[in-house]
Structure formats: structure tokens, C-alpha cells
């Protein structure tokens, strides 16, 4: 075994031992067969000064064994998340052609589900409540990461029609998904929604009913799913680019990067127009004013972060300021009932686009933590996920199908308005169909904000739709690709504008296999060490 693998293996084994042995040890300590041990435990409560001074973090946890189990479980998860950032794990991921969500992500989601199980009892409701500040901070960090990838100077260099393609590729899936999911929710909530629909007898009734339905949680949740539908993983676009080097593929890469921002924009509209804190907040603002508050808050925090980072004299200070700016941004958003993802993204985008000497270093700092943080986030997402509602499992294929259909229709529209270099509409639609990792962040952040805000029971279903949807989308897209006999580029589209020489149409290298399964064995594995996706 190679030394690195050996180290990784021994590390994982060590943590596994800790996980297995820890609860047993804790149970022994709590059940206390040797009385002297219990005496010692009780007596030590009277002497350990730090314990009294600081108290446990997870204060709602009742027993010692429970807390120990939780702490060791979280320690294991953190260890695995750090280990999953090892280049070796990334290389395997790339070699198998898997996206982050399906490769490293799904095990963490499953681990979250297991940790949530009452028999395991690691990520219980009370623990999740205690960890809420950390969750907010994590979402804020990921928002910053998304925002910092939004580079205005790069936008100046992209194809002039990228905006139109982006609009078509994001707006249409948002609309198709929102409509499909709205109809589903209206049907599911028929006791509330059918009387409203039945009361329509005139145009005035129609207007009133439309307003009532638009204020209903069903519509809010459907738009949230619509926002998730916009976001696509950049892996396929990158694969196209690697294979063909076509300019069209680069446009798709830009589109897939920017549609994260589009999804966040839609979520910001939801946060402005459906306020979770409306009933008890001291501020009484019109909904449109909330949109200004959200944008303004993100802007102010971005400028604050910029001034702070610029004033840092050392690298250590720079990291401290960055941490503080992200925490303040996430904390203020959470306190005002806004998704930290939104303000984080706005602040991050501002920070990235203002003149800064050490921007590359700053981005590196953000990216270094991004992947383990994302995996930990997926663990929490798994714990927050309640897959028991059948409605979620019905909603999931509906979400996936409406999303893929939206992407395909969007691709057709994009092909019409876009440049000639774009691949054919189906290839483009399929290439942009796999879900972005940010979808899960978006939906978890949404669920966290609106949980308890009203009596909506849809929130767990949303998570089922998005989490399982990630897997289902890849399977569906893969199946379509198989049926089509590969995801090949239209050779005519790789023309005179290509940055690389036009490839031979018979060259099997331009036939791409879509992740996860290596459909086309002739597709060469990527040779560079660049991580093809984010986070």
C-alpha cells in the first residue's frame, strides 16, 4: 500500500475505533459499574473550574453518554470531511467521473441520516438547534465562495450572448419547475386550495384567488424549488471543453457558473416577498423594501469585508477579518430572517470585484475550507432530511423531470438566440442538467429559515426532492445519454470560432460520457489536477 493511502486508511480506522469504542465507554461511565468511577465523576463536577466557567456547547443534551456519542460522531464526521479533501480522494472521484454530490456527498448525506436515527442519536433535534450558529456560518461561507467566483472582468470577456443563454437556461427551468411543483402542492393541499379555486366566479374573484394562492406557502415552496432548478453542475460543460476546446463549451461553462447566482437571486425574491418573521418582527416594511434591505445588506457587508481585508497587515489578520466578515454577514442575515447564502454571495461578489492585491490568496483561503465545509454541510442536510413523507418521493421525479424538461426547452431557446458555436440543443440541455452542489445548500438554507414560520408541511418534501433529485437527475441524464448513444458534440458547431483546431468528426474523443457511469469508455480521463467542479 502506498504511504499516503496507508496514512489515510489508518486515520479512518482510528476514527472508526473512536466512534465504536466511545459510546460503549460512555455508557459504562454513565451506568457506572464501579462505584468509585461514579464518585469520581460526580466529585469532579465540583472541582473542574473550566467546566463551570464555560459549560458544554451542546447544553440541551441530557446525559454524558449521549453527549460523548455526539461529540465523537461529529469528530468522526469532521475527520472524514478533512480526509475527503485529500488529493487521492479527488483523483478517484475524477477517475470515476462522479460529481461531488454523488461521490463524496452522498455518503455524508447518508451518514447524516444515520446520525439522526433515534438509535444512533448523534444529530438530534436539540443538537441541530445548538449547532444552528455553525450552520448559518457555513451557509454564509459557501455564499461567499459562490459570490467570489462572480468576476465582472471575466464577464466582460465572455461571449456577448452569454446573458441571453443564461436567461433562457435558468428562467425556463425556474418557470417549468415552479408551475409543476405549484400544481403538485395545490393538489396535495386541496383542503386549503380547492375552496379558493372553487370560489372563482368572476374576474374579481380570480384576482383575489390568485393573490391568496400566491401568498400561500405552496407557491413559496414551489418557487424555492424553481430556484434550485436553475443551478447546474459545471462538470459536463468542462468535459465538453476538455474534449473539444470549443468556444461554445466555454460559454456553457460560464453559464453553469452563473446559474448558481441566478438561483440565489430567485431565493432572495422569496425571502423578500415571503417573510418568515412577519408576525413578530419590530420592523414593518413593504415586501419590495425587503428586497432593498437584502441587496443593501449584502452590499454594505461586502464593502465592510473589503475595507477590513485591505486593512489587514498580516495573513493571519486577513483570515481573522475574513472570518469575522463572513460570520457577521451570516449572523445578520440569520437574525433578520434572510438566507445567509444571499448576503454572503453579494458580499463575496463585491469583495472579489473591488481592487485587491491579494485576491488570489483570499480566494484560495475560501476554497481551501469550501470542500470540507460543504461535506459537513451535507451531513447536516442528511440529518435535517426527513424522507418519511411519501409526498416528497412523488415530488422528486416531478421536480427532476420538470427541471430536465425546462433545461432542454431552455437549451432550444438558447440555441436560437445564442451563437453558432453552441452544441446542439439536446447536448446543451443534458450538459446543464446535473444538479449543482449549491442546490442542497440552497434548499437547506431555505428550510432552516422557514421551519416553524408557518404550518407548511412541505419543507421535508423539498429536501427529498433536491437531495434524491441530485441522484435521480444523474441517472435520468445518463439514461438519456445511453439512449442517444453518447453525448456527442455536433461537429458543425465546432467551427471557425473555436480556440482549438476543429476535431475530426470521427474522433471518438469528442463523444463524451456523462457522469456518473462511464458510458463511453473511449472518453479519456482528465489529466490535469484541476478540480472540475465546485465546491
Amino acid at each position: 500500500m502506498r504511504p499516503r493511502m496507508k496514512a489515510l486508511f489508518s486515520f479512518l480506522v482510528l476514527f472508526a475505533i473512536v466512534l465504536v469504542a466511545g459510546p460503549a465507554f460512555a455508557q459504562d461511565a454513565a451506568q457506572g459499574v464501579p462505584q468509585i468511577a461514579q464518585d469520581a465523576v460526580q466529585a469532579a463536577q465540583h472541582v473542574t473550574p473550566e467546566a463551570h466557567e464555560t459549560g458544554p456547547i451542546l447544553k440541551r443534551v441530557a446525559t454524558d453518554s449521549e453527549l460523548l456519542r455526539i461529540v465523537l460522531g461529529l469528530g468522526l464526521a469532521l475527520g472524514l470531511a478533512v480526509a475527503a479533501t485529500h488529493p487521492f480522494v479527488r483523483r478517484i472521484e475524477r477517475r470515476l467521473g462522479l460529481t461531488l454530490v454523488t461521490a463524496s456527498g452522498l455518503p455524508f448525506i447518508l451518514m447524516g441520516l444515520i446520525f439522526r436515527h433515534p438509535r444512533v442519536g448523534i444529530l438530534t433535534d436539540s443538537v441541530l438547534a445548538d449547532l444552528r450558529p455553525a450552520l448559518e456560518f457555513g451557509v454564509g461561507w459557501l455564499g461567499f465562495a459562490v459570490g467570489m467566483k462572480f468576476n465582472l472582468s471575466e464577464l466582460d470577456r465572455v461571449h456577448p450572448k452569454t446573458g441571453a443563454i443564461l436567461f433562457a437556461e435558468t428562467a425556463i427551468p425556474v418557470v417549468t419547475t415552479t408551475i409543476a411543483c405549484s400544481l403538485f402542492f395545490i393538489f396535495i393541499d386541496y383542503t386549503q386550495t380547492f375552496p379558493i379555486l372553487a370560489s372563482i366566479h368572476s374576474y374579481a374573484d380570480f384576482k383575489r384567488a390568485s393573490y391568496e394562492l400566491s401568498r400561500h406557502a405552496s407557491f413559496r415552496d414551489a418557487i424555492a424549488l424553481g430556484a434550485c432548478a436553475a443551478q447546474a453542475a459545471p462538470v459536463a460543460a468542462l468535459a465538453i471543453e476538455r474534449s473539444s476546446g470549443s468556444r461554445g463549451a466555454r460559454i456553457l461553462e460560464h453559464v453553469s457558473q452563473l446559474d448558481d447566482v441566478a438561483g440565489i437571486f430567485v431565493i432572495s425574491l422569496v425571502c423578500a416577498f415571503f417573510r418568515p418573521t412577519e408576525s413578530f418582527a419590530a420592523w414593518k416594511l413593504p415586501h419590495i423594501a425587503w428586497l432593498f434591505v437584502i441587496l443593501g445588506l449584502g452590499g454594505v457587508l461586502g464593502i465592510l469585508a473589503y475595507v477590513l481585508v485591505r486593512s489587514a497587515k498580516t495573513r493571519t489578520e486577513e483570515i481573522a477579518y475574513l472570518l469575522g466578515a463572513i460570520a457577521l454577514s451570516a449572523g445578520m442575515s440569520g437574525y433578520l430572517g434572510i438566507s445567509p447564502l444571499i448576503t454572503g454571495a453579494i458580499a463575496g461578489a463585491l469583495l472579489a470585484n473591488l481592487p485587491q492585491k491579494e485576491m488570489a490568496r483570499l480566494k484560495e483561503t475560501i476554497e481551501q475550507v469550501e470542500r470540507p465545509l460543504f461535506l459537513i454541510f451535507l451531513l447536516v442536510a442528511g440529518a435535517l432530511w426527513d424522507p418519511r413523507g411519501w409526498q416528497g418521493w412523488v415530488l422528486c421525479p416531478l421536480f427532476v423531470l420538470s427541471r430536465i424538461v425546462g433545461k432542454l426547452v431552455g437549451a432550444r431557446a438558447a440555441k436560437r438566440v445564442g451563437p453558432e458555436e453552441l452544441p446542439d440543443a439536446t447536448t446543451m440541455g443534458l450538459a446543464l442538467s446535473p444538479q449543482s452542489p449549491m442546490v442542497i445548500v440552497t434548499v437547506v438554507s431555505f428550510v432552516t429559515i422557514y421551519k416553524g414560520a408557518d404550518d407548511s408541511s412541505h419543507l421535508p418534501w423539498l429536501m427529498t426532492a433536491c437531495i434524491f433529485g441530485a441522484l435521480l437527475t444523474e441517472v435520468t441524464v445518463q439514461w438519456i445519454v445511453r439512449v442517444r448513444g453518447g453525448l456527442s458534440l455536433d461537429p458543425r458547431s465546432v467551427g471557425t470560432h473555436s480556440l482549438m483546431p476543429p476535431p475530426d468528426p470521427d474522433d471518438p474523443a469528442i463523444s463524451l460520457s456523462m457522469p456518473p457511469a462511464p458510458v463511453d469508455v473511449t472518453s479519456p480521463p482528465p489529466t490535469t489536477d484541476v478540480d472540475p467542479e465546485h465546491p
Binding site: S10, V41, H46, V47, P49, E50, H86, E317
Partner: protein, 443 residues
């Protein structure tokens, strides 16, 4: 400094605006406690306060403390009790990181020639301090308006109370020492002696408190732990914690040597584990992480400085949050006029005891004359451990604990604010300040 002031005002205004969002009696179960908001605010504002204090030649950590105190529940209430409570995550990890750094700084091979001096100063300073503080408490006890809680006690009971207060007030602060040594970039024999001294003194104080606690139980016939239980708890606390710490150190060493990816994040996880699991197993996180650091520095071929370098990025925010939260925890309402005078007297007596005791210890330990001016100032600061012990006194001795803890907390508050100022000046005057980079470079 102007920029720091501007940024501080901006951050304060932002948070004041955000805090106006919810009415005072709002149910915050939907949006959480606002701990993330408090974390961001405390971190940014305390760093600016630190920069302002640094600009006027005061320790940055005093800036953190003052900012925390002003923003805390006692004064402006930007940071509520619940937020402070929820920020323990950072605080607990901070204790671990600080202890790990302290352990990684202590190289026994380098420290060996100084061990005699360290032990003699520790024992002499603590003994003299306990005696003079105890004496002062007894003397103040004769004037009942100063220490009214001593009224009606027998001489034996008064002596036990005096001894208990003496032990609590003799506690030192490894965190302050480490923070100031880091802030001033001090490196050399003086800082090594002080660091060793405060760590060993901490151990002695834990032992001594277990003893006086037992005496207190006997003198006031309070139901509590048995003598056997007390002995076991001390054994668990003092001996098992380092053993677990060694195991943590071994895990850390394996990780650094074999995996070596995102070491800071891994160390953060280890400290989290150490702080939370350790507490529930009734082990001391400070001792555990200290031992882990000592293990790495002294028993592996990993240089402690490398580990410190790896976690350096986390050190600034950790110190800022740690001290600001400590400041937010200071209770202004305990500081009444009577308590203020008693506390002030005890602070002066303690300083006298520490200085005289350390001078005796330095004479016994044959410390070079040049070092003797600086070392006593390292013993004046107090923080977490002393506060923890004062709260224990309050909780375990209801008959007199309230009054005594008010006095003790008042004195600790003064020492916490004034001690670092004096220590910083002494470090700057010692000639070792700013040498850290040079020494690190020479390794």
C-alpha cells in the same frame, strides 16, 4: 487607528440596527439566539478595539476585554446572556488551542536548566500570596462592613474562608501570558520561564483548591463529596487528563506526519473533541491539550513551532473571541461600593504577595538579575481559572459564597484589566520583545 475607530463604529451601528429588528420580548426560537451575529460582531469589533488599544500602547487583549464588557449584558446588551452562552463553542475550542500552543512552546530540553527556577518561583509566589491574601481577608473580616459575610463565623471558619479566597486569588492566567507573549513577539529565557511558571502554577492551584474545598466542607458541614471522592477527582483531573492528552497528541502527530492536509482544521476538530468529550468525562481540556502540545514538541520529531505556524491563522480570532467573551461575562452589578474597596485592597495585597514571593523564589532559583524585574509582572494577571474557582465558591458554599465570590470576581476583574497592561510593559522593557521571528528563523 482612525481606520480602526471608523470600522468599530460601523460594525457597532450595523449590529445596533440588526438588534432593533426584534422587540425585546420576541420569541427567538425561529431565528435562533443570534449567536452567529454575536460571533461576527465580537470578532470584528474586538479586533478593532485591540488595534485602538495597541495604538495607545495598551495590550490588545485589554481592548478585547473592554469591548466584550461594553457590548455584553452588563452594559449595552448587544450580546445577550444567551448569545454569550451559545458562543461557548468558540471558547471551549479556544482553551484547547491556547493550551496546545502553550504545550508546543515548552521544550523540556531547553527548559531543563530553568526547571529549578520555575519550581522555586511557583511555590514561593503561591505560598506568600496565599498567606498575605488570607491575612488580609482575616484583617478585613474584623471590619465587618468590608466583608460582612464573615460575620458570626468562628476563627477556624474565618481562616478556612481566608485560605479559600487566598487560593482562588493566587490563580494565574496561562491564557493571558500566552496571548501577550504572542502579541509582543517575545522569545527568550524570560518568556519561557513565565510560560512554564504559569502552567505549573495552574496545576498547583487545582490541587490546592481541592484541598481547601475539602476543608471548607468540613468547616461548614456542607453536604458534598467525600474525602475519597475528592482524592479520586484530583487523580482523574491531574493524571488522567494528561494521559488522554498524550493520546490526542499521538493522533495529531500521525496526522501531521502522514496526512498533512488542512492541519488547522484537524487541530480545531481535536480541540473540539478534547473540550467537549473531556468535560463530560470530567477531564480538564486545558491539561489534555497542554499534554498533547508537550508530546508533540518533546516526544516527536515534529517541531512545535511548525504546529504553531499551522494554527497561527486561527490564533488571532480565537484570542479575540476568548477574551471578548470573558469581558462580556464580567458582571457589573456585583461591583458595589463596598465590594469595590475590598476587591481593590485584595488586588494590592495580592500584587504585593506575588512580587515578594517571586523575588524570594527567584533568589532561591538563582534567576539572573536581569530577569528579576520582568518575571513578577507575569504573575499579576488573572482570567478564566480564577473566575471558574470564584463561581465554584459561590455555588458550593451558599452560606458565605455569594459575598466572597462578589469580592473575588471584583478583584479578578481588576487583575484581568490591569494585569496585562503591566505585563506588556514589562515584556517590552525586557529586551525579548519582537525576537520571536528571529528565534523561529534560527530553528
Amino acid at each position: 487607528m482612525i481606520r480602526a475607530t471608523f470600522l468599530l463604529v460601523l460594525v457597532v451601528l450595523l449590529v445596533a440596527a440588526a438588534r432593533s429588528f426584534l422587540p425585546a420580548d420576541a420569541d427567538t426560537s425561529l431565528i435562533g439566539s443570534g449567536a452567529a451575529l454575536a460571533f461576527g460582531f465580537i470578532l470584528l469589533a474586538s479586533l478593532q478595539a485591540g488595534a485602538i488599544f495597541g495604538g495607545i500602547k495598551l495590550p490588545q487583549l485589554t481592548g478585547y476585554l473592554v469591548l466584550g464588557f461594553l457590548a455584553g449584558p452588563s452594559v449595552l446588551n448587544f450580546v445577550t446572556h444567551r448569545m454569550v452562552d451559545d458562543m461557548r463553542l468558540v471558547n471551549n475550542v479556544a482553551i484547547g488551542l491556547i493550551a496546545l500552543s502553550a504545550g508546543s512552546e515548552l521544550n523540556f530540553r531547553r527548559l531543563k536548566p530553568k526547571l529549578r527556577a520555575i519550581f522555586s518561583i511557583t511555590i514561593a509566589a503561591l505560598l506568600v500570596a496565599v498567606v498575605v491574601i488570607g491575612g488580609a481577608v482575616l484583617t478585613l473580616g474584623t471590619m465587618t462592613h468590608f466583608l460582612p459575610f464573615l460575620e458570626g463565623m468562628t476563627l477556624w471558619q474565618k481562616s478556612v474562608v481566608a485560605l479559600t479566597m487566598g487560593v482562588v486569588l493566587s490563580a494565574l492566567s496561562p491564557t493571558v501570558a500566552l496571548a501577550l507573549i504572542g502579541e509582543t513577539g517575545t522569545a527568550g529565557p524570560i518568556s519561557e520561564t513565565i510560560l512554564g511558571l504559569v502552567v505549573f502554577a495552574d496545576l498547583f492551584i487545582v490541587f490546592a483548591f481541592a484541598g481547601v474545598h475539602a476543608l471548607g466542607q468540613a468547616a461548614f458541614a456542607t453536604a458534598g463529596a467525600s474525602a475519597g471522592g475528592m482524592a479520586t477527582e484530583v487523580v482523574l483531573h491531574i493524571f488522567v487528563s494528561p494521559l488522554v492528552g498524550l493520546a490526542l497528541g499521538a493522533v495529531l502527530a500521525i496526522y501531521v506526519k502522514r496526512v498533512n492536509v488542512r492541519v488547522a482544521l484537524f487541530v480545531f476538530g481535536i480541540c473540539f473533541l478534547g473540550a467537549e468529550a473531556g468535560k463530560r468525562l470530567h477531564l480538564d481540556p486545558l491539561l489534555m491539550c497542554l499534554s498533547a502540545g508537550l508530546f508533540i514538541e518533546n516526544l516527536t520529531d515534529i517541531h512545535g513551532a511548525r504546529l504553531i505556524k499551522d494554527i497561527e491563522a486561527a490564533a488571532v480570532p480565537v484570542f479575540a473571541i476568548f477574551f471578548a467573551v470573558a469581558g462580556a461575562g464580567l458582571e457589573l452589578h456585583v461591583f458595589t461600593a463596598t465590594v469595590a474597596i475590598s476587591s481593590l485592597i485584595l488586588v494590592l495585597v495580592r500584587a504585593f504577595g506575588m512580587i515578594v514571593g517571586s523575588q524570594i523564589g527567584m533568589a532561591i532559583g538563582q534567576v539572573p538579575q536581569a530577569h528579576r524585574k520582568t518575571i513578577p509582572y507575569g504573575l499579576l494577571s488573572q482570567s478564566g481559572i480564577a473566575i471558574g474557582l470564584a463561581l465554584l465558591v459561590k455555588n458550593h458554599f451558599p452560606a458565605w459564597g455569594d459575598g466572597a465570590s462578589a469580592c473575588l470576581l471584583g478583584a479578578v476583574m481588576i487583575n484581568e484589566l490591569v494585569g496585562p497592561v503591566l505585563f506588556r510593559r514589562a515584556l517590552l522593557a525586557s529586551g525579548e520583545a519582537g525576537r520571536k521571528e528571529v528565534v523561529a528563523g534560527s530553528h
